[in-house]
Protein backbone atom coordinates (compact mmCIF):
# COMPACT_ATOMS: atom_id res chain seq x y z
CA UNK A 1 0.00 0.00 0.00
CA UNK A 2 1.30 3.42 -0.95
CA UNK A 3 2.31 5.32 2.17
CA UNK A 4 1.33 8.73 0.81
CA UNK A 5 -2.05 7.42 -0.19
CA UNK A 6 -2.80 5.96 3.24
CA UNK A 7 -1.81 9.26 4.88
CA UNK A 8 -4.14 11.09 2.51
CA UNK A 9 -7.10 8.72 2.97
CA UNK A 10 -8.60 10.21 6.18
CA UNK A 11 -8.50 13.73 4.71
CA UNK A 12 -10.28 12.55 1.57
CA UNK A 13 -12.97 10.95 3.75
CA UNK A 14 -13.39 14.15 5.75
CA UNK A 15 -13.67 16.19 2.57
CA UNK A 16 -16.33 13.86 1.17
CA UNK A 17 -18.34 13.94 4.41
CA UNK A 18 -18.17 17.74 4.55
CA UNK A 19 -19.29 18.00 0.95
CA UNK A 20 -22.26 15.67 1.54
CA UNK A 21 -23.15 17.65 4.67
CA UNK A 22 -22.98 21.00 2.84
CA UNK A 23 -25.00 19.79 -0.15
CA UNK A 24 -27.61 18.08 2.03
CA UNK A 25 -28.12 21.20 4.16
CA UNK A 26 -28.63 23.36 1.09
CA UNK A 27 -30.73 20.92 -0.89
CA UNK A 28 -33.07 20.10 1.99
CA UNK A 29 -33.10 23.72 3.26
CA UNK A 30 -32.29 22.61 6.82
CA UNK A 31 -32.75 25.56 9.23
CA UNK A 32 -29.40 26.95 10.48
CA UNK A 33 -30.28 26.56 14.16
CA UNK A 34 -30.92 22.83 13.63
CA UNK A 35 -27.86 21.94 11.58
CA UNK A 36 -25.66 24.64 10.07
CA UNK A 37 -23.70 23.68 6.93
CA UNK A 38 -19.87 23.44 7.22
CA UNK A 39 -19.49 26.78 5.45
CA UNK A 40 -21.50 28.52 8.18
CA UNK A 41 -19.46 26.76 10.88
CA UNK A 42 -16.22 27.85 9.20
CA UNK A 43 -17.53 31.38 9.00
CA UNK A 44 -18.55 31.35 12.70
CA UNK A 45 -15.16 29.92 13.67
CA UNK A 46 -13.30 32.64 11.80
CA UNK A 47 -15.52 35.41 13.17
CA UNK A 48 -15.18 34.25 16.80
CA UNK A 49 -11.54 33.23 16.58
CA UNK A 50 -10.10 35.56 19.29
CA UNK A 51 -12.85 34.65 21.77
CA UNK A 52 -12.56 30.92 20.99
CA UNK A 53 -8.80 31.02 21.37
CA UNK A 54 -8.91 32.73 24.76
CA UNK A 55 -11.64 30.32 25.90
CA UNK A 56 -9.56 27.39 24.66
CA UNK A 57 -6.60 28.73 26.58
CA UNK A 58 -8.72 28.94 29.75
CA UNK A 59 -9.92 25.36 29.41
CA UNK A 60 -6.47 24.08 28.51
CA UNK A 61 -4.71 25.85 31.37
CA UNK A 62 -7.29 24.62 33.88
CA UNK A 63 -6.98 21.07 32.54
CA UNK A 64 -3.16 21.15 32.59
CA UNK A 65 -3.14 22.57 36.12
CA UNK A 66 -5.56 19.83 37.19
CA UNK A 67 -3.35 17.24 35.49
CA UNK A 68 -0.30 18.44 37.42
CA UNK A 69 -2.16 18.49 40.72
CA UNK A 70 -3.50 14.99 40.02
CA UNK A 71 -0.02 13.79 39.10
CA UNK A 72 1.52 15.03 42.35
CA UNK A 73 -1.19 13.50 44.54
CA UNK A 74 -1.49 10.26 42.57
CA UNK A 75 2.25 9.58 42.43
CA UNK A 76 2.68 10.47 46.10
CA UNK A 77 -0.15 8.23 47.22
CA UNK A 78 0.97 5.40 44.92
CA UNK A 79 4.44 5.58 46.46
CA UNK A 80 3.00 5.40 49.96
CA UNK A 81 0.59 2.59 49.11
CA UNK A 82 3.07 0.68 46.96
CA UNK A 83 5.64 0.44 49.72
CA UNK A 84 3.29 -0.37 52.62
CA UNK A 85 0.97 -3.30 51.98
CA UNK A 86 -1.21 -2.51 55.02
CA UNK A 87 -1.96 0.95 53.67
CA UNK A 88 -2.79 -0.63 50.34
CA UNK A 89 -5.29 -2.97 51.97
CA UNK A 90 -6.87 0.01 53.69
CA UNK A 91 -6.98 2.26 50.63
CA UNK A 92 -8.04 -0.15 47.88
CA UNK A 93 -11.79 -0.48 48.68
CA UNK A 94 -12.06 3.26 49.18
CA UNK A 95 -10.36 3.94 45.87
CA UNK A 96 -12.78 1.62 44.09
CA UNK A 97 -15.80 3.36 45.62
CA UNK A 98 -14.55 6.79 44.56
CA UNK A 99 -13.65 5.52 41.12
CA UNK A 100 -17.04 3.97 40.36
CA UNK A 101 -18.96 7.05 41.54
CA UNK A 102 -19.97 9.04 38.44
CA UNK A 103 -17.87 12.17 38.50
CA UNK A 104 -20.70 14.44 37.30
CA UNK A 105 -22.57 13.57 40.48
CA UNK A 106 -19.95 15.11 42.74
CA UNK A 107 -19.43 18.18 40.57
CA UNK A 108 -21.95 20.40 42.43
CA UNK A 109 -20.28 19.48 45.72
CA UNK A 110 -16.84 20.37 44.44
CA UNK A 111 -18.17 23.67 43.13
CA UNK A 112 -19.63 24.52 46.53
CA UNK A 113 -16.39 23.65 48.31
CA UNK A 114 -14.34 25.63 45.87
CA UNK A 115 -16.55 28.62 46.60
CA UNK A 116 -19.02 30.10 44.16
CA UNK A 117 -16.70 33.07 43.76
CA UNK A 118 -13.90 30.83 42.47
CA UNK A 119 -15.38 28.76 39.63
CA UNK A 120 -11.88 28.08 38.27
CA UNK A 121 -10.90 26.30 41.47
CA UNK A 122 -13.96 24.08 41.22
CA UNK A 123 -13.16 23.20 37.61
CA UNK A 124 -9.52 22.42 38.42
CA UNK A 125 -10.52 20.38 41.45
CA UNK A 126 -13.02 18.26 39.57
CA UNK A 127 -10.72 17.73 36.61
CA UNK A 128 -7.97 16.70 39.04
CA UNK A 129 -10.25 14.11 40.64
CA UNK A 130 -10.99 12.63 37.21
CA UNK A 131 -7.33 12.65 36.18
CA UNK A 132 -6.17 11.14 39.48
CA UNK A 133 -7.11 7.51 38.92
CA UNK A 134 -5.31 6.56 35.74
CA UNK A 135 -2.08 8.00 37.15
CA UNK A 136 -2.59 6.36 40.54
CA UNK A 137 -3.40 2.91 39.20
CA UNK A 138 -0.64 3.14 36.58
CA UNK A 139 1.96 4.10 39.15
CA UNK A 140 0.78 1.43 41.59
CA UNK A 141 0.78 -1.28 38.91
CA UNK A 142 4.26 -0.22 37.85
CA UNK A 143 5.67 -0.13 41.38
CA UNK A 144 4.35 -3.60 42.11
CA UNK A 145 4.91 -4.97 38.63
CA UNK A 146 8.69 -5.40 38.58
CA UNK A 147 9.93 -8.77 37.31
CA UNK A 148 9.60 -11.20 40.27
CA UNK A 149 12.96 -12.76 39.40
CA UNK A 150 14.56 -9.30 39.58
CA UNK A 151 12.93 -8.91 43.01
CA UNK A 152 14.51 -12.26 43.98
CA UNK A 153 17.86 -11.04 42.74
CA UNK A 154 17.55 -8.00 45.00
CA UNK A 155 16.69 -10.39 47.87
CA UNK A 156 19.72 -12.51 47.05
CA UNK A 157 22.11 -9.57 47.22
CA UNK A 158 20.50 -8.22 50.38
CA UNK A 159 19.19 -4.94 48.93
CA UNK A 160 17.82 -2.42 51.41
CA UNK A 161 14.29 -1.01 51.10
CA UNK A 162 15.59 2.20 49.60
CA UNK A 163 17.89 0.42 47.14
CA UNK A 164 14.96 -1.70 46.01
CA UNK A 165 12.75 1.36 45.59
CA UNK A 166 15.22 3.53 43.70
CA UNK A 167 17.04 0.89 41.69
CA UNK A 168 14.18 -1.45 40.86
CA UNK A 169 10.62 -0.33 41.54
CA UNK A 170 10.74 3.31 40.47
CA UNK A 171 12.52 2.66 37.16
CA UNK A 172 10.27 -0.35 36.50
CA UNK A 173 7.21 1.87 36.98
CA UNK A 174 8.23 4.43 34.34
CA UNK A 175 6.28 3.01 31.34
CA UNK A 176 3.14 2.52 33.44
CA UNK A 177 3.37 6.02 34.91
CA UNK A 178 3.75 7.52 31.43
CA UNK A 179 0.74 5.62 30.12
CA UNK A 180 -1.29 6.78 33.13
CA UNK A 181 -0.34 10.41 32.49
CA UNK A 182 -1.33 10.12 28.84
CA UNK A 183 -4.79 8.78 29.68
CA UNK A 184 -5.15 11.30 32.52
CA UNK A 185 -4.50 14.29 30.24
CA UNK A 186 -7.48 13.44 28.06
CA UNK A 187 -9.64 12.86 31.12
CA UNK A 188 -8.54 16.18 32.64
CA UNK A 189 -10.00 18.00 29.63
CA UNK A 190 -13.23 16.00 29.94
CA UNK A 191 -13.35 16.79 33.66
CA UNK A 192 -12.79 20.50 33.03
CA UNK A 193 -15.58 20.65 30.44
CA UNK A 194 -18.03 18.74 32.66
CA UNK A 195 -17.23 20.93 35.66
CA UNK A 196 -17.82 24.06 33.63
CA UNK A 197 -21.17 22.76 32.42
CA UNK A 198 -22.21 22.01 35.98
CA UNK A 199 -21.01 25.37 37.30
CA UNK A 200 -23.05 26.88 34.50
CA UNK A 201 -22.20 30.44 35.53
CA UNK A 202 -19.63 31.38 32.94
CA UNK A 203 -17.20 32.29 35.66
CA UNK A 204 -14.50 30.12 34.20
CA UNK A 205 -14.92 31.43 30.64
CA UNK A 206 -13.79 28.20 29.01
CA UNK A 207 -14.90 26.45 25.84
CA UNK A 208 -17.71 24.62 27.64
CA UNK A 209 -19.20 27.95 28.60
CA UNK A 210 -18.98 29.09 24.97
CA UNK A 211 -20.99 26.03 23.98
CA UNK A 212 -23.59 26.64 26.70
CA UNK A 213 -23.83 30.32 25.86
CA UNK A 214 -24.25 29.70 22.13
CA UNK A 215 -26.78 26.96 22.82
CA UNK A 216 -28.91 29.31 24.95
CA UNK A 217 -28.96 31.76 22.05
CA UNK A 218 -29.58 29.05 19.44
CA UNK A 219 -26.29 30.04 17.74
CA UNK A 220 -25.74 26.49 16.55
CA UNK A 221 -22.88 27.34 14.17
CA UNK A 222 -20.97 28.89 17.06
CA UNK A 223 -21.58 25.77 19.15
CA UNK A 224 -20.02 23.71 16.40
CA UNK A 225 -17.13 26.17 16.22
CA UNK A 226 -16.41 25.74 19.93
CA UNK A 227 -16.72 21.97 19.57
CA UNK A 228 -14.28 22.04 16.68
CA UNK A 229 -11.73 23.97 18.73
CA UNK A 230 -12.24 21.58 21.65
CA UNK A 231 -11.64 18.58 19.38
CA UNK A 232 -8.51 20.14 17.87
CA UNK A 233 -7.23 20.91 21.35
CA UNK A 234 -7.69 17.29 22.35
CA UNK A 235 -5.85 16.07 19.26
CA UNK A 236 -2.99 18.48 19.91
CA UNK A 237 -2.68 17.44 23.56
CA UNK A 238 -2.76 13.76 22.66
CA UNK A 239 -0.14 14.25 19.94
CA UNK A 240 2.25 16.13 22.23
CA UNK A 241 1.97 13.48 24.95
CA UNK A 242 2.31 10.63 22.47
CA UNK A 243 5.58 12.11 21.21
CA UNK A 244 6.79 12.81 24.77
CA UNK A 245 6.00 9.23 25.82
CA UNK A 246 7.81 7.80 22.82
CA UNK A 247 10.90 9.95 23.40
CA UNK A 248 11.10 9.09 27.11
CA UNK A 249 10.50 5.37 26.50
CA UNK A 250 13.16 5.31 23.81
CA UNK A 251 15.64 6.72 26.29
CA UNK A 252 14.39 4.34 28.98
CA UNK A 253 14.90 1.15 27.03
CA UNK A 254 17.59 2.47 24.72
CA UNK A 255 15.74 2.03 21.45
Amino acid sequence: MNRGLSLLAPFVLIAILLAVWEIACRALAVPQFLLPPPSAIAEATARNMPLLMSSAWNTLSMAVLAWIVASVFACGLALLVGTHSLIEDAVRPLAVVIQVTPIVAIAPLVNIWAGLDHPQRGVVGLAAVVAFFPIFSGALTGLKGADPDLERLFDLYGATRLQRLFRLRLPAAVPFVLEGHKVAAGLAVVGAVVAEFVAGSGGAQGLAWRILEASNRLQTAKMFAALLVLALMGVLLYGVLQVAERVILRRWRGR
Partner: protein
Protein backbone atom coordinates in the same frame (compact mmCIF):
# COMPACT_ATOMS: atom_id res chain seq x y z
CA UNK B 1 37.79 -47.44 21.23
CA UNK B 2 40.44 -45.42 23.02
CA UNK B 3 39.36 -42.07 24.32
CA UNK B 4 41.79 -39.20 23.75
CA UNK B 5 41.85 -38.48 27.45
CA UNK B 6 42.88 -40.94 30.14
CA UNK B 7 40.10 -42.19 32.40
CA UNK B 8 40.81 -41.65 36.08
CA UNK B 9 41.83 -44.83 37.84
CA UNK B 10 38.97 -46.72 39.48
CA UNK B 11 41.05 -46.90 42.64
CA UNK B 12 40.31 -43.22 43.23
CA UNK B 13 36.68 -44.04 43.32
CA UNK B 14 35.85 -41.77 40.40
CA UNK B 15 36.09 -44.17 37.53
CA UNK B 16 33.90 -44.41 34.53
CA UNK B 17 31.11 -45.69 36.64
CA UNK B 18 27.84 -44.68 35.15
CA UNK B 19 25.01 -44.88 37.59
CA UNK B 20 26.89 -44.93 40.85
CA UNK B 21 24.62 -43.55 43.53
CA UNK B 22 25.55 -39.91 43.98
CA UNK B 23 25.09 -39.92 47.75
CA UNK B 24 27.43 -42.88 48.15
CA UNK B 25 30.32 -41.25 46.38
CA UNK B 26 33.51 -41.11 48.31
CA UNK B 27 34.94 -38.07 46.66
CA UNK B 28 34.48 -35.38 49.22
CA UNK B 29 37.53 -34.47 51.16
CA UNK B 30 36.06 -31.12 52.09
CA UNK B 31 32.79 -30.17 53.72
CA UNK B 32 29.88 -29.60 51.33
CA UNK B 33 29.22 -26.03 50.27
CA UNK B 34 25.49 -26.64 50.46
CA UNK B 35 23.36 -29.47 51.78
CA UNK B 36 19.64 -30.18 51.75
CA UNK B 37 18.58 -32.72 54.38
CA UNK B 38 15.15 -34.28 53.92
CA UNK B 39 13.76 -30.92 52.86
CA UNK B 40 10.10 -30.60 52.02
CA UNK B 41 8.38 -27.53 50.67
CA UNK B 42 4.60 -27.16 50.71
CA UNK B 43 2.89 -24.43 48.75
CA UNK B 44 -0.75 -23.43 49.27
CA UNK B 45 -1.67 -25.51 46.22
CA UNK B 46 0.05 -28.60 47.66
CA UNK B 47 3.43 -30.18 48.32
CA UNK B 48 6.06 -29.05 45.82
CA UNK B 49 9.25 -30.81 46.86
CA UNK B 50 10.59 -33.67 48.85
CA UNK B 51 11.57 -35.20 51.04
CA UNK B 52 14.73 -34.45 49.09
CA UNK B 53 18.37 -34.95 50.04
CA UNK B 54 21.13 -33.24 48.17
CA UNK B 55 24.64 -32.13 48.80
CA UNK B 56 27.19 -30.29 46.80
CA UNK B 57 30.97 -30.27 47.18
CA UNK B 58 32.93 -27.08 46.54
CA UNK B 59 33.83 -26.77 42.89
CA UNK B 60 31.48 -29.54 41.76
CA UNK B 61 29.10 -29.22 38.81
CA UNK B 62 25.82 -31.03 39.40
CA UNK B 63 22.80 -31.14 37.14
CA UNK B 64 19.25 -31.54 38.42
CA UNK B 65 17.00 -33.20 35.85
CA UNK B 66 13.31 -33.81 36.24
CA UNK B 67 9.89 -33.32 34.68
CA UNK B 68 8.13 -29.95 34.81
CA UNK B 69 6.79 -29.11 38.24
CA UNK B 70 9.08 -31.53 40.10
CA UNK B 71 10.41 -28.79 42.33
CA UNK B 72 13.79 -28.25 40.64
CA UNK B 73 13.48 -24.50 40.82
CA UNK B 74 12.23 -24.73 44.39
CA UNK B 75 15.32 -26.77 45.33
CA UNK B 76 17.44 -24.08 43.71
CA UNK B 77 15.74 -21.33 45.69
CA UNK B 78 16.39 -23.29 48.90
CA UNK B 79 20.07 -23.53 47.98
CA UNK B 80 20.12 -19.80 47.26
CA UNK B 81 18.51 -19.03 50.61
CA UNK B 82 15.62 -17.28 48.83
CA UNK B 83 13.09 -19.62 50.40
CA UNK B 84 12.88 -21.64 53.62
CA UNK B 85 11.83 -25.31 53.66
CA UNK B 86 8.55 -26.30 55.31
CA UNK B 87 10.37 -29.26 56.89
CA UNK B 88 13.98 -30.42 56.86
CA UNK B 89 17.30 -28.64 57.04
CA UNK B 90 19.24 -26.43 54.66
CA UNK B 91 22.94 -25.90 55.31
CA UNK B 92 24.78 -23.28 53.34
CA UNK B 93 28.46 -22.54 53.60
CA UNK B 94 28.35 -19.69 51.11
CA UNK B 95 27.27 -16.37 52.52
CA UNK B 96 25.68 -13.32 50.97
CA UNK B 97 27.55 -12.21 47.89
CA UNK B 98 29.05 -15.67 47.49
CA UNK B 99 25.92 -17.15 45.92
CA UNK B 100 24.71 -16.17 42.47
CA UNK B 101 21.65 -17.21 40.45
CA UNK B 102 21.05 -17.18 36.70
CA UNK B 103 17.39 -17.50 35.80
CA UNK B 104 15.72 -19.00 32.74
CA UNK B 105 15.17 -15.53 31.29
CA UNK B 106 18.10 -13.08 31.31
CA UNK B 107 16.21 -11.04 33.97
CA UNK B 108 18.00 -7.81 33.18
CA UNK B 109 16.78 -4.35 34.09
CA UNK B 110 15.54 -3.01 30.73
CA UNK B 111 16.31 0.61 31.66
CA UNK B 112 19.96 -0.05 32.55
CA UNK B 113 22.97 -0.59 30.30
CA UNK B 114 24.77 -3.93 30.20
CA UNK B 115 27.52 -2.52 32.43
CA UNK B 116 25.04 -1.16 34.98
CA UNK B 117 23.17 -4.48 35.02
CA UNK B 118 26.38 -6.39 35.71
CA UNK B 119 27.55 -3.85 38.30
CA UNK B 120 24.30 -4.17 40.27
CA UNK B 121 25.36 -6.89 42.77
CA UNK B 122 28.49 -4.93 43.64
CA UNK B 123 26.68 -1.62 43.99
CA UNK B 124 24.01 -3.20 46.21
CA UNK B 125 26.85 -4.39 48.44
CA UNK B 126 28.15 -0.84 48.69
CA UNK B 127 31.04 -0.94 46.22
CA UNK B 128 31.73 2.48 44.72
CA UNK B 129 30.24 3.10 41.31
CA UNK B 130 33.57 3.48 39.49
CA UNK B 131 35.05 0.28 40.94
CA UNK B 132 31.81 -1.62 40.33
CA UNK B 133 31.74 -0.52 36.70
CA UNK B 134 35.36 -1.40 36.21
CA UNK B 135 34.75 -4.93 37.49
CA UNK B 136 31.52 -5.16 35.50
CA UNK B 137 33.39 -4.42 32.29
CA UNK B 138 35.94 -7.06 33.19
CA UNK B 139 33.13 -9.57 33.83
CA UNK B 140 31.58 -8.75 30.46
CA UNK B 141 34.93 -9.42 28.83
CA UNK B 142 35.12 -12.78 30.62
CA UNK B 143 31.86 -13.89 29.02
CA UNK B 144 33.23 -12.75 25.64
CA UNK B 145 31.05 -9.68 25.37
CA UNK B 146 32.86 -6.60 24.13
CA UNK B 147 31.49 -3.36 22.77
CA UNK B 148 28.08 -3.79 24.40
CA UNK B 149 28.91 -1.96 27.64
CA UNK B 150 26.53 0.90 26.90
CA UNK B 151 23.85 -1.21 25.17
CA UNK B 152 20.52 -1.77 26.88
CA UNK B 153 18.89 -5.22 27.02
CA UNK B 154 16.43 -4.48 24.18
CA UNK B 155 19.42 -3.95 21.87
CA UNK B 156 20.92 -7.36 22.64
CA UNK B 157 20.14 -10.78 21.14
CA UNK B 158 18.84 -13.54 23.41
CA UNK B 159 22.25 -15.18 23.63
CA UNK B 160 23.99 -11.88 24.37
CA UNK B 161 21.46 -11.01 27.08
CA UNK B 162 22.06 -14.43 28.66
CA UNK B 163 25.80 -13.72 28.66
CA UNK B 164 25.17 -10.39 30.41
CA UNK B 165 23.14 -12.31 32.98
CA UNK B 166 26.01 -14.75 33.41
CA UNK B 167 28.48 -11.88 33.78
CA UNK B 168 26.28 -10.38 36.50
CA UNK B 169 26.37 -13.71 38.36
CA UNK B 170 30.14 -13.95 38.03
CA UNK B 171 30.99 -10.37 38.95
CA UNK B 172 31.02 -11.15 42.68
CA UNK B 173 33.21 -14.26 42.16
CA UNK B 174 30.63 -16.56 43.77
CA UNK B 175 31.52 -19.87 45.39
CA UNK B 176 28.08 -21.23 44.54
CA UNK B 177 26.51 -20.62 41.15
CA UNK B 178 22.90 -21.69 40.63
CA UNK B 179 21.69 -21.95 37.03
CA UNK B 180 17.92 -22.36 36.61
CA UNK B 181 17.38 -23.66 33.07
CA UNK B 182 19.55 -20.83 31.81
CA UNK B 183 19.61 -21.88 28.15
CA UNK B 184 16.02 -23.09 27.81
CA UNK B 185 14.95 -20.16 25.63
CA UNK B 186 17.94 -20.28 23.30
CA UNK B 187 18.57 -22.09 20.01
CA UNK B 188 20.74 -25.21 19.90
CA UNK B 189 23.85 -23.51 18.50
CA UNK B 190 23.78 -20.76 21.13
CA UNK B 191 23.16 -23.35 23.87
CA UNK B 192 26.21 -25.34 22.90
CA UNK B 193 28.41 -22.26 22.68
CA UNK B 194 27.24 -21.13 26.11
CA UNK B 195 27.80 -24.61 27.59
CA UNK B 196 31.43 -24.45 26.48
CA UNK B 197 31.75 -20.95 27.91
CA UNK B 198 30.30 -21.96 31.27
CA UNK B 199 32.95 -24.70 31.48
CA UNK B 200 35.70 -22.27 30.50
CA UNK B 201 34.53 -19.85 33.19
CA UNK B 202 34.25 -22.66 35.74
CA UNK B 203 37.90 -23.57 35.16
CA UNK B 204 38.96 -20.02 36.12
CA UNK B 205 37.51 -19.88 39.64
CA UNK B 206 35.97 -23.35 40.23
CA UNK B 207 32.65 -22.32 41.78
CA UNK B 208 30.25 -25.11 42.73
CA UNK B 209 27.51 -25.12 40.10
CA UNK B 210 23.99 -26.49 40.22
CA UNK B 211 22.50 -26.66 36.77
CA UNK B 212 18.76 -27.25 36.43
CA UNK B 213 17.54 -28.53 33.08
CA UNK B 214 14.89 -30.55 31.25
CA UNK B 215 17.41 -31.78 28.78
CA UNK B 216 19.17 -35.08 29.51
CA UNK B 217 21.96 -34.60 26.94
CA UNK B 218 22.66 -31.10 28.20
CA UNK B 219 22.80 -32.35 31.80
CA UNK B 220 25.28 -35.11 30.94
CA UNK B 221 27.39 -32.70 28.93
CA UNK B 222 27.46 -29.94 31.54
CA UNK B 223 27.81 -31.75 34.84
CA UNK B 224 30.10 -34.26 36.51
CA UNK B 225 27.06 -35.63 38.34
CA UNK B 226 23.42 -35.79 37.30
CA UNK B 227 20.64 -36.14 39.86
CA UNK B 228 17.26 -37.28 38.54
CA UNK B 229 14.10 -36.12 40.32
CA UNK B 230 10.61 -37.65 40.30
CA UNK B 231 7.63 -35.57 39.24
CA UNK B 232 6.36 -33.25 41.93
CA UNK B 233 6.75 -33.31 44.87
CA UNK B 234 10.20 -34.26 43.64
CA UNK B 235 12.46 -36.80 45.30
CA UNK B 236 15.89 -38.01 44.23
CA UNK B 237 15.48 -40.96 41.87
CA UNK B 238 18.88 -42.06 40.66
CA UNK B 239 21.19 -40.37 38.25
CA UNK B 240 24.73 -40.80 37.04
CA UNK B 241 28.29 -39.79 37.68
CA UNK B 242 29.99 -38.87 34.45
CA UNK B 243 33.64 -39.87 34.52
CA UNK B 244 35.11 -37.55 31.95
CA UNK B 245 37.07 -34.36 32.34
CA UNK B 246 35.61 -30.90 32.47
CA UNK B 247 35.68 -28.93 30.22
CA UNK B 248 34.59 -31.70 27.87
CA UNK B 249 37.07 -32.91 25.26
CA UNK B 250 36.15 -32.36 21.61
CA UNK B 251 33.70 -34.92 20.30
CA UNK B 252 32.53 -35.88 23.78
CA UNK B 253 28.92 -36.08 22.63
CA UNK B 254 29.78 -39.03 20.37
CA UNK B 255 31.65 -41.08 23.00
CA UNK B 256 30.44 -44.25 24.68
CA UNK B 257 30.67 -42.57 28.13
CA UNK B 258 28.31 -39.85 27.02
CA UNK B 259 25.90 -42.32 25.40
CA UNK B 260 25.80 -44.64 28.41
CA UNK B 261 25.35 -41.81 30.89
CA UNK B 262 22.55 -40.30 28.80
CA UNK B 263 20.85 -43.70 28.57
CA UNK B 264 21.14 -44.28 32.32
CA UNK B 265 19.72 -40.82 33.10
CA UNK B 266 16.92 -41.28 30.55
CA UNK B 267 16.03 -44.66 32.02
CA UNK B 268 16.01 -43.29 35.57
CA UNK B 269 13.88 -40.38 34.44
CA UNK B 270 11.39 -42.69 32.70
CA UNK B 271 11.29 -44.93 35.79
CA UNK B 272 10.78 -41.92 38.08
CA UNK B 273 7.86 -40.67 36.01
CA UNK B 274 6.44 -44.16 35.55
CA UNK B 275 6.53 -44.81 39.28
CA UNK B 276 4.60 -41.63 39.90
CA UNK B 277 2.00 -42.44 37.27
CA UNK B 278 1.70 -45.98 38.68
CA UNK B 279 1.25 -44.68 42.21
CA UNK B 280 -1.48 -42.36 41.06
CA UNK B 281 -3.56 -44.99 39.29
Amino acid sequence: MAAPWAPPSPARGEGWAVGAKPSKRDLRLTAPIARLQAVEVDYPRGPALGPFDFDLAPGEITALVGPSGCGKSTALRLLAGLEAPTRGRVERASGRGETAVVFQAPTLMPWATATDNVALPLELAGTSKSVARERARAALARVKLTGVDAAKPAQLSGGMAMRVSLARALVTDPRLLLLDEPFAALDEITRRALAEDVHALWVQSKPAIVFVTHNVEEAVYMASRVVVMTSGPGRAAGGAVIGAPLPRPPGFRTTEVFRQAAEKVSADLAAAMGARVGAAS
